[in-house]
């Protein structure tokens, strides 16, 4: 049974602007559900409506099969990790974690058991007697998580719970949260603005913008088949390069500037029409080889070498395109660069509505680009570059 169902949910704070303008979604029991979207799009609002902290203006919220519009928060049997932690400064870490369990009449020894487990899990064992003010930001966030863990409510709402952790800790917390959710079979609704979290943690992602769900699907569906231009540029970093494309006799003209040569085969495969918005992901802007058909010559605006990868920026018309290449490549600003912009890897969007016309090719039926790591050809491809001894 679906844990949470939103039917045409609307919310307005001031009676004029609709923060949520009709949300429809179903969240399944045991699902890890992620909400993303630009700042101010209503993510927290939706979460708070589910928690019962905010009323709805219209529509229905159904939880566990019952209409929950007017249900009190405490009757919803859920727990929430607040964006601002909501730790009580006067309580020790221990009491903060256990906060509210007495209301729920959880026995003392059971409380102790859960506390020990949660503290262990989140590496807080040494800090139990401190007050929140004596903790670093990351530790505070972990206490908030621990409280949620201890409550063992079957539904857990989290509002950007990792935003204040450093990269290293964040990586390990991602794994822990996911593991915990799977072990306890929790349903989690998780708000984040972090790409990595969105892509790696969720069973499904909902992209919210302008009060509506722009797309709902698995991380890879969103990445590989973005429903529209908004989702395409929102998911993936560095963001997708977008340009207006027009079919001309000489090829595909991007932003009235760069011409990508097209083979007859290419032309046949183009979607209907002659003018689109097209998007190339930075990692699919490859250096051209001698045999490349789709090569274009561009001039490098700047580049950033980042140890394990290099970003190269160049202009396509008025737009700055980014290429993302593995390894360290010294590229002079102003250097001429020949890159391959293969239309097979391009996403095509309706030039007016921004709706997806055709996703990039080269994807399996589930939208992933390859199926198995033991595939020899993959290995060959992957190691190909560094295996060749340098001159």
């Amino acid at each position: 049974m679906a844990k949470i169902v939103c039917k045409d949910l609307k919310k307005s704070y001031d009676g004029k602007t609709e923060v949520l303008a009709g949300i429809n979604l179903e969240i399944q029991e045991g699902e890890f559900f992620i909400l993303v979207g630009p700042s101010g799009c209503g993510k927290s609002t939706l979460l708070r409506i589910i928690a019962g902290l905010e009323g709805v203006s219209a529509g229905e919220l159904i939880m566990d099969g019952k209409l929950a519009n007017e249900m009190l928060p405490k009757d919803r049997n859920l727990t929430m990790v607040f964006q601002s932690y909501a730790l009580y400064p006067h309580l020790s870490v221990r009491d903060n974690i256990l906060f509210g369990l007495d209301v729920k009449k959880v026995a003392k020894d059971e409380q102790e058991r859960r506390l020990a487990e949660a503290a262990e899990l989140l590496g807080l064992t040494d800090y139990l007697d401190r007050k929140p003010r004596a903790l670093s930001g990351g530790q505070r966030q972990r206490v908030a998580l621990a409280r949620s863990v201890c409550s063992q409510a079957p539904l857990c709402l989290m509002d950007e719970p990792l935003s204040n952790l450093d990269a290293k800790l964040r990586a390990s917390m991602r794994v822990e949260i996911r593991r915990l959710q799977q072990r306890l079979g929790l349903t989690v609704v998780y708000v984040t603005h972090d790409q990595v979290e969105a892509m790696t943690m969720g069973d499904r992602i909902a992209v919210l913008s302008n009060g509506r769900i722009q797309q709902l699907g698995t991380p890879l569906e969103l990445y590989n088949h973005p429903a529209n231009e908004f989702v395409a540029t929102f998911i993936g970093t560095p963001q997708m390069n977008m340009a207006i494309a027009e079919v001309q006799p000489e090829g595909l003209v991007l932003n009235d500037d760069v011409v990508v040569p097209l083979s007859a085969e290419d032309r046949a495969k183009l979607p209907a029409g002659t003018r689109w918005k097209v998007g190339f992901r930075p990692e699919q802007v490859y250096p051209a080889t001698a045999t490349s058909v789709h090569q274009v010559d561009v001039s490098v605006v700047s580049s950033e070498m980042m140890g394990n990868e290099t970003l190269i920026f160049f202009n396509v018309g008025s737009e700055l395109f980014t290429a993302r290449w593995q390894g360290q490549h010294r590229v002079e600003t102003g250097a001429a660069l020949r890159v391959s912009l293969d239309p097979r890897y391009a996403h095509f969007f309706d030039v007016n509505t921004g709706a997806l016309v055709r996703a990039a090719e080269d994807l399996d039926e589930q939208g992933a680009r390859s199926t198995s790591v033991v595939d020899e050809s993959l290995a060959a491809r992957m190691e190909a570059a560094p295996a060749a001894p340098m001159a």
Binding site: S84, A86, H90, G100
Partner: protein, 317 residues
């Protein structure tokens, strides 16, 4: 800001420590300077002239016999103090004062707190309630005495009429020695309510919503919220209100003077009122000075104890 004070404290500790690795240095230009005194001068001067100096004189006077006009005639050591402590009426004044403080301070704060909790939320009509509850702050002691006298008169007072109307029996509010201190306390609570209420209201309103939402999710009721969230989170304000109310309770003289003059049967003689009588009516300046010193010590001691007792319960965010 917390760091700032920590730093200076740490500095002080370091100065005392035996083995100092590296002496901490002030930031350039942060050298001790006279500038601070320049800014403090106006206040310090006023304090010195109008508080410290007269109090020093009071302390000296307390060791002397005096003329009615306050002239020092004879050094009598602790005699003024000893006389006071052997005077059963003075001991009674001490007891009265303690009872009065115990009656007024907690009740003022509890009532103010409850009203503040109930009106903290922005619901319809709250503006009116807030104004009414804070209004007593604007009433002078003289006006309050007038107002309440009209209510409390045992026979002509409205209060008893209301009580009798409902079939009860009137009370000798200000005349019955078992009621007088309570009656004065009621007025005092009424008068101090406004300010305590305002401070606490402000404090509650500045508590982040998420603390309450967190309780909402858990499901704690009104008292649970109050006990576990509101009170601890506004503890600095409560502490502040407690201190101010406490000190002012020890110094509340106006009401007594205007309503009961210490009666009936000395039931409402507070330390400060006794002091006032001896200084301004009986012209026993030496004794009054001694009482001033005692009162200061009592207030100081109680504030100190109060501070120590509540310190650990106060959490600053």
């Amino acid at each position: 800001m917390a760091l700032r004070s920590k730093r200076s404290l740490a500095g002080a500790e370091a100065a005392g420590a035996a083995a100092v690795a590296v002496p901490p240095k002030e930031a350039p230009g942060g050298k001790r300077s006279l500038a601070g005194w320049v800014y403090l001068l106006p206040s310090i001067a006023i304090f010195a002239i109008f508080v410290i100096y007269p109090f020093a004189r009071t302390i000296i006077t307390s060791f002397f016999a005096t003329t009615p006009a306050g002239g020092l005639t004879q050094f009598i050591g602790l005699s003024n103090f000893i006389t006071l402590f052997t005077d059963p009426l003075y001991t009674q004044a001490i007891a009265n004062t303690l009872i009065y403080v115990v009656l007024t301070v907690p009740l003022t704060i509890v009532i103010a707190l409850l009203l503040a909790v109930l009106t903290a939320q922005d619901l319809p009509g709250m503006g009116i309630f807030r104004t009414i509850f804070s209004a007593t702050m604007g009433i002078s002691v003289a006006a309050a005495a007038v107002f309440w006298n009209l209510l409390f008169n045992a026979n002509s007072g409205v209060l008893n009429r209301i009580i009798e109307f409902f079939g009860g029996e009137g009370v000798g509010w200000l005349i019955d020695q078992n009621f007088a201190l309570v009656s004065v306390s009621i007025i005092s609570i009424w008068m101090n309510l406004g300010m305590a209420y305002l401070i606490l209201l402000g404090a509650i309103k500045s508590i982040d919503d998420s603390y309450y939402e967190s309780v909402d999710i858990v499901g704690g009721g009104f008292w649970y919220r109050l006990r576990r969230v509101t009170v601890p989170l506004i503890s600095p304000s409560l502490f502040f209100v407690l201190t101010v109310t406490l000190i002012s309770a020890f110094q509340s003289f106006g009401l007594i003077d205007m309503l009961t003059q210490g009666g009936p049967n000395n039931a409402t003689v507070l330390l400060i009122y006794r002091l006032y009588r001896d200084a301004f009516v009986n012209f026993r300046i030496g004794s009054a000075s001694a009482q001033g010193v005692i009162l200061f010590i009592v207030i100081f001691a109680i504030s100190y104890i109060q501070n120590k007792l509540t310190e650990s319960k106060v959490t600053y965010q």
